[in-house]
Symmetry: D2
Subunit: 186 residues, 4 copies
Amino acid sequence: MSLAATVKTVLAEVQACLDRIDDRQVRAFLSAFGKAKRVFVTGQGRSGLVGRAFAKRLMHIGFEAYVAGETTTPAISKGDLLVACSASGATTTTCAHAETARKVGAEVAALTAKPTSRLAKQSHVVVGLETRFLRRNLVSPLGSAQFSTTLFEQACLILLDAACLELMKRRKASTAQMQARHANLE
Amino acid sequence: MSLAATVKTVLAEVQACLDRIDDRQVRAFLSAFGKAKRVFVTGQGRSGLVGRAFAKRLMHIGFEAYVAGETTTPAISKGDLLVACSASGATTTTCAHAETARKVGAEVAALTAKPTSRLAKQSHVVVGLETRFLRRNLVSPLGSAQFSTTLFEQACLILLDAACLELMKRRKASTAQMQARHANLE
Amino acid sequence: MSLAATVKTVLAEVQACLDRIDDRQVRAFLSAFGKAKRVFVTGQGRSGLVGRAFAKRLMHIGFEAYVAGETTTPAISKGDLLVACSASGATTTTCAHAETARKVGAEVAALTAKPTSRLAKQSHVVVGLETRFLRRNLVSPLGSAQFSTTLFEQACLILLDAACLELMKRRKASTAQMQARHANLE
Amino acid sequence: MSLAATVKTVLAEVQACLDRIDDRQVRAFLSAFGKAKRVFVTGQGRSGLVGRAFAKRLMHIGFEAYVAGETTTPAISKGDLLVACSASGATTTTCAHAETARKVGAEVAALTAKPTSRLAKQSHVVVGLETRFLRRNLVSPLGSAQFSTTLFEQACLILLDAACLELMKRRKASTAQMQARHANLE
């Protein structure tokens, strides 16, 4: 199989996963940003990298955005929003962050492949990015061709980037404004 | 436009970008890993996050992999491979890394949206992920609907994850072995 | 009070804290490096930054050293050493790391201001860097003049750097070798 | 030599280095924070870790503080302050940051062991933390006993922490306020 064919398989998986997203969940997710004072993002491993890619764009759009664990991230508090990415919905640190956020009165929005997970139960808003159905669908009779939670991470990035396009509109963020906020110390 | 429609637009852009990749470039890219003693990854901003997601999988597959700038990353030297991600191919730090890598006798493989860029010229292997053609194609008559280099970053992640599937085969890395290497301190 | 006077107060605190370190604890700490296959370092917040400064030097000295949570850090396993820095000895993530390390058969060495803490109890080797005694000693009748766990972090850095000098000798690491390992992609 | 003796040597070096700081430089450094809209911190390697430890405390004190290169760090602009730590004063990335900061009209304050370096020349305020004099002083006739720029990094941390005590007073930051800002998602 050539790499072009592998790329096609991967994209078909991402497409299949995103096709199954519940539109009401996504609307609830987007609404959470309208009310948020500040936005915090958490996630471990590759889910954390995807979360950071999202946090960066939120900053460009004009949100006061922070990544949990980075140096100058302040305490989360009432009125803030925590976006938590975890395929399993069971990552210890991510669940601990969700718990703390709830306790202080912040909103929690989870992106997870397991809508029945501990994280999902702790969250006010859940966007399910299920990938397990692939085990019995046409894309691959044996399920996702990819290692571990790779498909979740890819789908998560694409979904959050699409969400950014919507948030840009709602915030009336112009490309010029966004470019002006873009880090110049890299 | 609902978010489902936006997701479709984004995926169509990624698909269109990846459809245009030159297969010979990808083959040269994959070959570089066969000869590499160790693999270093560099990139700034969101390109750097995508690079890190790739470096993590390389470690799972069994490569000795490092991210430029992380705490215990040693000096790159002769026989090593540097994978550099930069949409513009002009990011100062990334180009400086490529230059250092060349000087010490390491191989440099670039992923860039500008195959005529400074970074591309510094590299032994170049994979062009062009996105500019979108400005005149059917996906969007106005070009990519997304902010700045977003499309490059998405296409880069998908391509590198597809490359991982190929490298897993070449290295005969089993899922069990990869799972055993997966960080347990998160 | 001029800044010179403040600097003197701070240094006197660090000195007083380090004067009270138990030499047997430090010897046990150093011995742990003789047996370690690989060294992992963990800590959150500023304790984590101090831990990273140590991990970097360990790499220069010739250890296979990793920071918990960084991109290409593999799974810790039997025969490895985890160095955990936590003033309170109660930081959730750090204690979770210590627990995982123990479970897989790795050695755990803790640096903490509370030698009776949960972390200390989980650890095979404990170096106590007590700072509370300052509350009743001559340096400052009101205790440390500094915010929160600042004194612990300073004392920890100085102690670990002193330990590096000792480890360099034991490993017969020459300055030239160490310089050669120093990151050239910064 | 026991580790206690090594610790004494290290502390004596730090003391000797800090004893030589020019008080007028430190006063100019502290003044720069009075005028700063926001504070950005940069530095590579262990100097970068020390810079981050400082940035974290600045956030606690109530400054809008950012670390160059972290995910949601925005563009630096007119009225901001860049604090740059570099022993050599020649680190490529750090000098590039200083140059960008100057260009956009931000103030640059450098901490360096070489007050005649490129970085020092680019900076509005310079605090010299010289360590080379040790090569001929009593602490160690052969100069610092420590590897590379270790002494600079230690002295830098202690000086910046002392500066924090002064900035806390100027800002009238109470311990309670600072504790309330302390990250609760770790």
